[in-house]
Amino acid sequence: MPQILVEDLAKTYRVAERDPGLLGAVKGLVHRRHRTVQALRDVSFSLEAGELLGFIGPNGAGKSTTIKILSGILKPDAGLVQVNGRVPFTDRIAHVSRIGVVFGQRTQLWWDLPVSEGFDLLADIYRVEPARYRANRDELVALLRLERVLDQPVRQLSLGQRMRAEIAAALLHEPDILFLDEPTIGLDAPSKLAVREVVRRLNRERGVTVLLTTHDMHDIEALAERVIVIGHGQVLADSPFETLRANVLAERRLVVDFAHAAPDLNLPGVEVRSRKGQTLELAFDPARTPTPTLIAALAAAHEVVDIHVGEPAIEEVIARFYDLHGAGEA
């Protein structure tokens, strides 16, 4: 039996609408109009204990809604959800004591309390046995480099410091499953790396199951073996990341520096993507034009200084995938 089981999940929201302007506001006093938004249609997937799953999709695709249902905050309209054999919303209290959740856009620590007092309070709320709590906290503080901020009120932390503290706060009760909803949003590079490192270690060393949503494809590339792409409330793809990349984009890139001004190329199956002085960026399909053939042809016809083979940026892969499925943001 998988640790997380989701079948035919559906959720709708009612959205209040108002005509613009004064007249619209007055009309709204008398009669409210509502529109139903289908946040999730029929999402199904399952997850084994110890997996690390990346959840990606454009804004409004249903990622956060799925996490909120899995964590017991929202009640789904239809479908089956089981986590550790429990139904999250119905069996909320037993369920949430075994999971940890971080919402990158919100804070779970108390704004005016020093970080360490916030941790103490959470340990009390989760009824963590004191000796275990101390050991756990010390380990997390070291892992997330929080020693220097422990005595500071949360409101005085930088975003990077706060996010590291948030992640520690979600782990004080040693959950089996960690839900991370955009944990790296707005962070600088070192903080992102620290977050990824911690997530990887928790997953590898402690076997914590991780479900992560993000818009940063480097998070996915660094962490997730498996990726679910969601759009318009539906699962569009569920596969290893490399498969996803290979399926969506077989394209290769070649950046060529010429000794003189870049020539006008006219090679079949090769597209000039950009031209900058003596440099050309070419796009081609290696199945049709093998890379060595192309390089040989270029070197034979022109005086080439340098050649660099690359792949399109991951962001491009995903944007193209969303387009392909008509899943761009509504």
């Binding site: 905050i73 209290i93 999971i99 959740v101 856009q105 919100r106 108390w110 009390d124 009824r127």
Partner: protein
Amino acid sequence: MDAARPYLAAFSSRFLLMLQYRAAAIAGFATQCWWGGIKVMIYAAFFAAAPGAAAASPMTLVQVITYTWLAQALLALTPWSADPEVALSVRTGSVAYDRLRPVDTYSLWYVRGAAWMASRALPRAALMLLGAGLVLPLIGLSDWAWKPPPTLAAAAAFAISLPLALALSAAFLMIVNIIVAATLTDRGINVLFNSLIIVFSGNLLPLALYPDWAQTALLVQPFAGMMDIPLRLYVGQLSGTGALAGLGLQAFWTVALILLGRWAMARVMRRLEVQGG
């Protein structure tokens, strides 16, 4: 003990944090001194101007004066507005985190609200007792002072009634909080309940001083138990079976409002929408 641990921790954490706000306590105390002083002088003028009515009054001037200082001192114990922490968490969506805790959300909010009210009332009440109970007699104004309860029985009844008032106020605060959670704003609801509370808790005028025909209705409505009943017990205006009835009413309304609040909360949480993100 372990079952109560989250709630005790949430209570003491909020209580200790709120006690840090000294400037707010002193400002509140100053305002309440000012209003208390004005009210005491108005009551004195009424009692002096109409000796006949004063003789028939259910409360003596001495009782009214002590009642007034106490009402000013304990103002923060009435649920004036929704818990600002709940209002904020509903607006920002942090309410999601409250639902992630392995505790009963109603109880968590309840103890936090109780801590919030108690911690605001405590320093104000202490300052008021110091000012109206000690300083006034020392400077020769003992006629205008906050007096101790007349009997041991009155003191005992007050000691039981005050925690009940807090429990009742917190139960009512939860109703307000739940309305805020359902409507996502605390503006309208705060204004609406403010005026109800200030009149029907006895804060504006001791409920015993209203016309006789209104007395029963005024006593049995829920707001009386938040302030008027404990204060009447303190000054000895309610005693014997009246005192028991007062305590009973407080307990009844506390239980009734908690049941109502729990039912409403379950409904609101079922259709909770945590927006954005």
